[in-house]
Symmetry: C2
Subunit: 314 residues, 2 copies
Amino acid sequence: MPERLGPPLEEPLFARLAIIGLGLIGSSIARGVKARRLAGAVVAVDRDEAVLDRVRALGLADEATADVAAGTAGADGVVLCIPLGAYGDVARRMTLAPGAVVSDVGSVKGSAIAQMQPHLPPGTALVPAHPVAGTEHSGPDAGFATLFHNRWCILTPPDGTDAAAIARIRAFWEALGSNVEIMDAGHHDLVLAITSHVPHLIAFNIVATAEDLETVTQSEVIKFSAGGFRDFTRIAASDPTMWRDVFLHNKDAVLEMLGRFNEDLAALARAIRWSDGEALFNLFARTRDIRRGIISSGQETPEPDFGRRRDDGA
Amino acid sequence: MPERLGPPLEEPLFARLAIIGLGLIGSSIARGVKARRLAGAVVAVDRDEAVLDRVRALGLADEATADVAAGTAGADGVVLCIPLGAYGDVARRMTLAPGAVVSDVGSVKGSAIAQMQPHLPPGTALVPAHPVAGTEHSGPDAGFATLFHNRWCILTPPDGTDAAAIARIRAFWEALGSNVEIMDAGHHDLVLAITSHVPHLIAFNIVATAEDLETVTQSEVIKFSAGGFRDFTRIAASDPTMWRDVFLHNKDAVLEMLGRFNEDLAALARAIRWSDGEALFNLFARTRDIRRGIISSGQETPEPDFGRRRDDGA
């Protein structure tokens, strides 16, 4: 049964919404905005002409331009959906009128705020957002309107942000199907370091380690990947530019969480070396609870093996 | 479209097949054997009376017993589907007649051979097998007949093993839908260390690291797990006894592969600390190929995010 968003709003939340960056996330937002009529008009801004062509062909926006200044002029809402490394440059080129609300979807909020805030004129509001949702695919064709459905979206408004602006961005994400939580940017960056950034880092890492082996061929790695490895290749197939920027912009929290991961892994390696079966069993036995929590909270499917296979009943 | 096994064989491969251990793998074999009539009679052997009750209730075997000696007496085929730590004890108690073929499904083949071989009487053959298939669920109710369909099964017969016995075990796994490859046991243990054992170890590890944090709550880890973490919790939900034994019985290869993983991870951490974006990008960009290989070889579904979500077309 496909998930469905609600009906179009009678009164759009924004008169003119500029979406900057029409990749997986930006194009999914554009689809959701259109489906629920969250904006009177949508302007798609992307520096890549090939992306703009796809935006036009897919009918994702009312206007499409490579010009940040023109695209944001007159917008009462702007959402940056670009790699973190491009925030400062794009924010500098935006032309915002008082009353405009600026948001984003970046995975690191401290850096997002630090990069955008200096460029926002008085009378505008900054409400950073991070929808914790995605797939391993990239680009405007990979997006879909229900991507954010039943996923969490974290807002990290700086102290003193206009309450009405926060309420508008909250309503926006709730209309896209998300549950919204408000959090301090620094705490967000710590939480996501362990739930997203370090998992991606070790997934990228093990795929590269496997590729570089001289005793095991790449064909063997591929053939026998169903033993666990292939799960890691999914997230290691994520967009390299986006992830490079995540690590560069959340350095402290990632290195802190990675340090803890490494300490724990060293203890496990020691238990293996010294044949401490009890230590291994005890650790392996306690990790099932957290998965049960993830399934019962609706953040994961309960089907075995992600429902990859089906039982023929035999 | 559900996957289907072929029709029942006209001539079973075994007159009397003993399956020892009726967990996920053993019960899946029992279902496949029944569906394709690979044995004249199936004897289920399990030390757990609760499992035997489920075997009887599910109709998985013709006979069910906790007695290894009685269960294997008169069998011309035996398959061990038990944790590696129990091999020696079970092999010692088997009562085999000449002509019997003994196999197993263990994830470490060097140890499997070393533990079983001393207990096999003359005239019997040992053809160890490892079906590279599974789910995170355990027990006789978790099994299904198509679990092995289009998965690889690796046979590691010791030098000098009777060719007819190898052919019989090959035919057995092909009838269950697997592709069969023959490999040296030592090489198998190295390949699986990187494609299965180390991935499981780091998945167990990161779930435990996340659980132990004092700055991030367990409820936050669960809520925001869709950023990548939840993929790791699937394999970290696998059977703790089985996995304890895998690490204890494949110590050298696991520590070798883990050492390489750690070296590569240290280089990545250093690139993050020194803001070497180029090194990060180059590594992240090259890991996509291997996933494409896994998908095109049929070992993985191409659907984004494991097909967890569906597009409503909006």
